[in-house]
């Protein structure tokens, strides 16, 4: 019953978006279509115009069904190993996203642990962590690739490092807050047991920080995907969703761009959902599931 109640507004919004999208597609593609008619000196009716605006090869804005068809063709009808398969490109982007995300989470946690336990690190590190995020990733991404290439690191890692660069930040911020979240009374309790820092960390600070860790990981994994795609854009990568976007824009293949965009969105949604599932499983085991 509750499912029905929740899905109705969702469907309304979805329908609204599709309607607006079709309307925009017709409106934006119409000038080019009229041009075509004029040059060929054909007579045209409104119905014909609408039909043709939704079936152009390189529309300004492809219609939803064109994007859907392209996605279907490049996922189900192509072999996964084919260079034309979106699954193949998604897989490339996915692997550097995950690698970068894992490095980012480990790095973020390590920095947070240092910041929480050491006053000097707290004062010295935090400003750098914050200012690192003020540099546009698009500007620094080619540098990272070039510099790493110079020291002989190629392939997946340079792209993953760009994901790391974006994803460690929410983890640092979240975990600093999480590791500092235990109540004073819980810390006092540890003091009465004359517990070591090690015990206080593993038995109190770490478990207290779990909800914070998962919340920041949800942000981090989406950022990691953006990082991976950005890493593929200016670097002449030949595979991956970013490369697909770039190739699409070179050749004016708007349908290809849009389908790559949708795959990216789908991938992001799936990754965030996976973190959400892990979150629920861990918190349930800890008896804290909401």
């Amino acid at each position: 019953m509750r499912g029905n109640v929740n899905i109705f507004p969702l469907l309304c919004v979805l329908t609204g978006i599709i309607v607006i999208w079709y309307a925009s597609a017709i409106y934006m593609n119409a000038p080019f279509q009229r041009d075509v008619y004029q040059r060929a000196k054909t007579q045209w009716t409104t119905t014909q115009l609408i039909g043709d605006t939704l079936a152009q090869k390189r529309p300004v804005l492809p219609a939803p069904h064109q994007v859907a068809e392209e996605i279907y063709k490049t996922t189900f009808l192509k072999k996964v190993t084919s260079k034309r398969s979106l699954i193949y490109h998604s897989g490339i982007t996915f692997s550097s996203t995950i690698l970068g995300f894992i490095i980012g989470v480990v790095l973020g946690i390590a920095l947070a642990v240092g910041i929480v336990h050491n006053k000097a690190l707290d004062k010295s590190l935090m400003p750098w962590v914050i200012s690192s995020q003020t540099i546009p990733i698009l500007a620094i991404a080619p540098m990272i690739i070039v510099v790493l290439n110079a020291v002989g690191i190629q392939g997946l890692l340079p792209k993953a490092f760009i994901s790391t660069y974006l994803s460690f930040f929410p983890v640092v911020v979240g975990m600093v807050k999480g590791l500092r979240s235990p109540e004073i009374i819980h810390l006092d309790l540890m003091r009465t047991y004359s517990a070591t820092q090690w015990d206080v960390f593993w038995k109190l600070r770490w478990p207290s920080s779990m909800p914070f860790l998962f919340t920041s990981m949800k942000v981090a994994i989406a950022a990691a995907l953006v990082g991976a795609i950005v890493g593929e854009l200016p670097t002449g990568a030949v595979a991956g969703l970013g490369a697909r976007l770039l190739a699409g824009s070179y050749y004016g293949q708007t349908i290809q761009i849009w389908s790559a965009l949708f795959m990216a969105a789908l991938l992001a949604g799936t990754l965030v959902a996976l973190v959400g599932i892990a979150n629920r499983m861990v918190l349930k085991r800890m008896g804290m599931a909401a």
Binding site: E183, I185, T192, S194, D199, G287
Partner: protein, 268 residues
């Protein structure tokens, strides 16, 4: 001579001499405690009672080495409070149960034992023994939020007892509970004290609670936090809640109330 003095040292668990504690705040110095002299002997049940701001909780926290006094001397088991804390000489029960929400009741009680590095078998033995003491058998696998406030506080008492300290420090442990649960827990605590013969220091602001539980009542007054008077009580150890109707009980309660009234200036 030396033998007899060490014997008397053994008798007294807590020795406080001219103790004071001053907090520095933005508004200047706050005299949380001043000129505290108090001796607590082994097996006593001592209540610290007074209005808020009289320093009763601060005094308990000084004994527990959670606060550091700025003057005077204090010995816990003939050691400094710091040494006593390092040797885990006391169990502390806070105002709130302070159970870790991600641990089951059994694992909450086992928390200090894990930190002490006891082996699994000994942990298990102490957990079930102490949960039985506070009548919480069968709740081992429950999480704190599945228990009522009173049961949570009982679990926290079991956790303090699991350390097997000779000294139990309790900071208004039943303050947040309703009166019916409170009466019940008071009676259970008294039985526990009778059975285990521990020394208890108990902070409260309830006169009936203090009189019912204690063998010695320390009446404190605020600004600066100090001891107004110390009232001895000779109520039998195996008393029940009915004793609150007796003249003896009412006399002691009256004495405590008078002390509180004298110590508390109503002008400010």
């Amino acid at each position: 001579m030396a033998a007899s003095s060490s014997l008397s040292k053994e008798q007294s668990v807590i020795n406080i001499n001219d103790l004071s504690l001053t907090f520095k705040t933005n508004d200047g110095l706050v005299h949380a405690l001043s000129n505290i002299d108090l001796t607590i002997n082994s097996g006593e049940f001592v209540s610290l009672i007074g209005p808020s701001g009289c320093g009763k909780t601060t005094l308990l926290r000084v004994i527990a080495d959670l606060e550091t006094p700025t003057g005077g001397s204090i010995l816990v088991n003939a050691m400094s409070p710091h040494e006593a804390r390092m040797k885990r000489a006391y169990g502390y029960v806070f105002q709130a149960a302070a159970l870790y929400p991600w641990r089951t009741i059994a694992r909450n009680v086992g928390l200090p034992l894990e930190i002490m590095g006891l082996d699994k078998e000994e942990c298990q033995k102490r957990i079930s023994h102490n949960l039985a003491l506070v009548n919480l058998e069968g709740f081992e696998k429950k999480f704190p939020w599945q228990l009522s406030g009173g049961m949570q506080q009982r679990a926290s008492i079991a956790r303090a007892l699991a350390v097997e300290p000779e000294l139990l420090l309790m900071d208004e442990p039943f303050g947040a509970l309703d009166e019916i649960v409170r009466d019940h827990l008071n009676e259970q605590l008294l039985r526990l004290w009778d059975k285990t013969n521990k020394t208890v220091v108990f902070v409260t602001h309830s006169i009936p609670e203090a009189v019912f539980l204690s063998s010695k009542i320390v009446v404190m007054s605020p600004r600066p936090g100090r001891i107004h008077s110390i009232i001895e009580s000779n109520l039998p150890k195996d008393r029940t809640l009915d004793i609150r109707e007796t003249q003896e009980f009412l006399n002691i309660a009256h004495e405590v109330r008078e002390g509180l009234r004298e110590g508390h200036s109503y002008e400010d």
